[in-house]
Structure formats: C-alpha cells, structure tokens
C-alpha cells in the first residue's frame, strides 16, 4: 500500500492477520477505532497505512533521518496511546495522525532551537543524508498520488505558497517566515490564511 519497491517487499510478504478475508480493506478510521480497543493487529495495519506519512513528514521537517525515525516512533506510539481520543466527527484519521506527526516534528525543531542545540543541528546538516533524502522523496514523488497537492500549491500566489510551505515543511513560525520573506508579520498571517483557504478550495476538502 505504500510502495512496491523491493526494500519493503520482505516485510509486506509476512502474513497479516486479516479480520475478514475477502472484505474490502479496513479504512484508517476503522483501524483507529479498533486500535482504541487495544487491538494490536489493527494497530499493525494502521502502522502500515500511516507510517510512511508520519516518517516522511518528520524527515521533511527535521531533515535528519535519525531524528526523523526517533520522532516518528514517538508519534506512532502516541497514536496507539491516544487512539481512544480520536473523534471521527472532528476529522479524518489520516489528518489526525498527520497533525500529531507535524506537531511533534515541529516541537523537536523548536526545542532544538530553544536549547541552542548546535551540535544536533550541525550533525543534522552534516549527515550525508541529503542524497538519501532526495532519492526517497523522488521515489515517493513517482509512486504517490500527490499531483493534486502540487497542482493546487501552484494556484497560490508566490507569497502565499512560500509562507505556507516554509511554515509547514520548514517548521518555522509565522514570525520567522516573515523574517525569511522580509514581509510584515500581519501580511504573512493573512497570506497564510488566504493560501490555506485557496488550497482547501482547490483540494475540495469538504466536510
């Protein structure tokens, strides 16, 4: 479900406990509900559905595979721990998981900044990972349906798009974004909102 690349093939060939043979695959919402009841098999399936999103997002924000893996692990265990609090009426399961992942990744960025953790940041910058990262991102780009997101990002004005992506992928606060873009703080705030609204309409996120 995440790729047909060889690297993951061995893992996916393991037999997986399936609730009902022949039935349509469980949705993330169903798996999350079962996870909330302590169903470890459901959680394993949920892992397979969501871990690439969690890890990929952590990797994009943190840029360091070791840290990304560490944070992804925290996130996925948080998903297990707090599945009891997921409320389908308030959003989809994948958005819920992505929200946890993004917040944790950003928290890690902020705490590193706050503690002036130069060493860690230097290590992240030095790590010979940029290639690996790009290769992974490239592979992801090929195999995943994200054209819509790319296309919709292009409908934003340059400032809207930069403000949104610097905040989301870059893990910067809107004030930091204002500094980076040499724009006024209120302008950045409103560009972020306008950009998100445009993105929403383009992606047709209807609830």
């Amino acid at each position: 479900m995440t790729s047909d690349q060889g690297s993951g093939a061995a893992r996916r060939e393991q037999p997986r406990l399936t609730a009902v043979p022949g039935e349509a695959a469980d949705t993330p919402e169903q798996l999350l509900h079962r996870t909330a009841l302590g169903d470890e098999d459901a959680f394993a399936q949920l892992y397979d559905l969501t871990a690439p999103r969690v890890y990929g997002l952590c990797l994009r924000v943190l840029r360091d595979p070791a840290q990304a893996e560490e944070v992804a692990q925290e996130v996925l265990i948080e998903v297990w721990r707090t599945a009891t609090r997921f409320d389908e009426r308030r959003g989809s399961a994948s958005a819920w998981v992505a929200t946890i992942a993004h917040r944790r990744a950003v928290d890690r960025v902020r705490s590193a900044q706050a503690s002036g953790d130069r060493e860690r940041r230097a290590a992240a910058a030095d790590a010979p990972t940029e290639e690996g990262y790009d290769a992974v991102a490239e592979a992801a780009a090929v195999r995943l349906e994200h054209r819509q997101v790319r296309r919709c990002l292009k409908t934003l004005t340059e400032l809207q798009r930069q403000a949104v992506t610097l905040a989301y992928y870059g893990g910067h606060t809107y004030r930091q974004v204002a500094v980076l873009l040499e724009a006024a703080v209120p302008t950045v705030k409103s560009r972020i909102r306008d950009g998100l609204v445009k993105l929403r309409d383009c992606l047709e996120v209807a609830r």
């Binding site: 790729s3 690297s7 893992r11 919402e29 169903q30 509900h33 079962r34 909330a36 009841l37 302590g38 470890e40 892992y47 397979d48 690439p52 999103r53 969690v54 890890y55 997002l57 990797l59 692990q73 996925l76 265990i77 721990r81 707090t82 599945a83 009891t84 609090r85 389908e88 308030r90 959003g91 994948s94 958005a95 992505a98 929200t99 993004h102 917040r103 992801a140 780009a141 995943l144 349906e145 994200h146 997101v149 949104v164 992506t165 905040a167 989301y168 910067h172 606060t173 809107y174 004030r175 974004v177 409103s190 972020i192 909102r193 998100l196 993105l199 929403r200 992606l203 996120v205 609830r207």
Partner: protein
C-alpha cells in the same frame, strides 16, 4: 482580541505559532464553533500537504513501534458522562443480566465498523443506553471478538471486563419466520443463563449485555418467539469472552 486570535488560526493549523499563541487559539476554538469548523477544515487541508512527503520508513521501525505499543497503556477516553464505579455482583448466579436494544449514532457506527456491517436495525431506548454502549466501546480494556454464525451472518462481542458489560452486535443471521427468535446466552462452567431474546423474526440487532460475571462465552441460539428457559442446541454461535 478575538479578531486578533482569529487571524492566528491559519498559522496555528500549520503549527507556526508559539506556545502562548497555541494556548490562546485552542481556547478560542472551544468558544467559537464557527472558528472550530474552519480550523477543522484547514487541518484536513494542511494534512494533505503531507501527501508529497511520504517516504518508506526504516525497516526496524515497525517492530520497535509494535513492541513499544504492546508495553504501553492506552489513555482513557475523554470523559463520557462519568458514572460511579459499579460494584462487582456478589451473587452472580442469582442476578439476571439485563439486555436492551440500543443504538446511538456514534456507537452504532463504531459497532458496525467492528462487525463489518452497515444498517444494523435496532431500537433507541434512551440516551442512557446509548451512553452505556458508547462507554463499553470506548473502555480502555474493551476487547473485540467475533464469529461467523452457523447459517450465515456474524456475531460480534465488544466486552469490557472492568465495566462487566458487553455490546453484542448481531448481523444478518439466517432469516427467521415471525414465530421464531434468536436468543443470547451467557455461558460459564456451571451452565448458561439467558442474556435476552431478540424480537421475533429479527436477524440483526445491537444489544447491551450488563453483568457478564464469570461467563466464558456469549452464545446465540434459535428459539420459539419469546425465548426459552434453556438453549436449544446446537448454538449457532459461541463467542468467547476475554479471559
């Protein structure tokens, strides 16, 4: 102030606010339903931005996460109408379990997801019973078991040992004539007692069984309408309760 908070919703959705602002926005969202709705929509939108960053996680991560989950206690669900702790039954053989048909919108959606069914028909008795069902489904120690029934259909049991209750979802059992009914039984080493009779001719229902005691399994039999005092064997399903 509130206008100012409102302009922070966009940055908040992107986690691009500081700690104080985050608190401010989250408090605001509890007070402004419209803002909460907008924030929820934008959250869904923003989550889509992670579509383009999907990447294969490292090989060892899966085992570590599953292993850690196994050793991690799950949080209690957000307080759903707290109830006083119920005493364990002192004389369980004497006490008859009560059962009700129960249906709550959220509860049934959850139960249907477990049971792999849609459109279970049941009768809503009161919000109290809806809440009881929801409480069982959301219990931290709730465990799910199911079984394909003899003759078709499925019986799903979501049981909570701490609550001593179970939600039983019966779906699409073999069709019955109007003078026959399905009956539920709590079975333990000493025998079985009725846990309720479904309406004549009904082949699907969602039921709350209260007072599991030491029952080992929940059985289902076909009986004359109105039920029997002892089960007509063989049972068409016998779903083991968590030990």
């Amino acid at each position: 102030m509130s206008a100012d908070v409102h302009t922070l919703i966009g940055p908040w959705v992107l986690d691009a606010v500081d700690e104080d602002e985050r608190t401010l926005v989250e408090r605001h969202l509890t007070e402004c339903a419209e803002c909460a709705a907008e924030a929820a929509e934008l959250r869904e939108t923003v989550a889509r931005l992670s579509d383009v960053t999907i990447a294969e996680p490292p090989a060892g991560l899966r085992d570590r996460v599953l292993h850690a989950a196994h050793r991690t206690r799950q949080e209690a669900p957000p307080a759903p109408a707290p109830e006083p702790a119920r005493a364990r039954p002192q004389r369980r053989r004497v006490r008859m379990p009560r059962w009700r048909l129960a249906l709550g919108a959220a509860a049934i959606a959850v139960a249907a997801a477990f049971a792999g069914i849609v459109g279970t028909v049941a009768v809503l008795q009161s919000t109290t019973e809806q809440d009881r069902v929801a409480t069982v489904l959301e219990a931290a120690d709730a465990e799910v078991a199911y079984q394909e029934a003899e003759g078709g259909g499925r019986v799903t049991v979501i049981a909570s040992e701490s609550l001593d209750d179970a939600v039983v979802v019966v779906s699409d059992l073999a069709a019955l004539s109007e003078d026959r009914a399905y009956q539920l039984w709590l079975v333990d080493a000493e025998g079985q007692q009725s846990a309720g009779v479904m309406d004549p001719g009904d082949s699907s229902a969602t039921m709350l069984v209260e007072g599991l005691g030491d029952a080992d399994l929940i059985g289902v039999t076909e009986e004359p309408a109105g039920g029997s005092t002892s089960p007509t064997l063989p049972m068409i399903a016998d779903v083991a309760l968590p030990a």
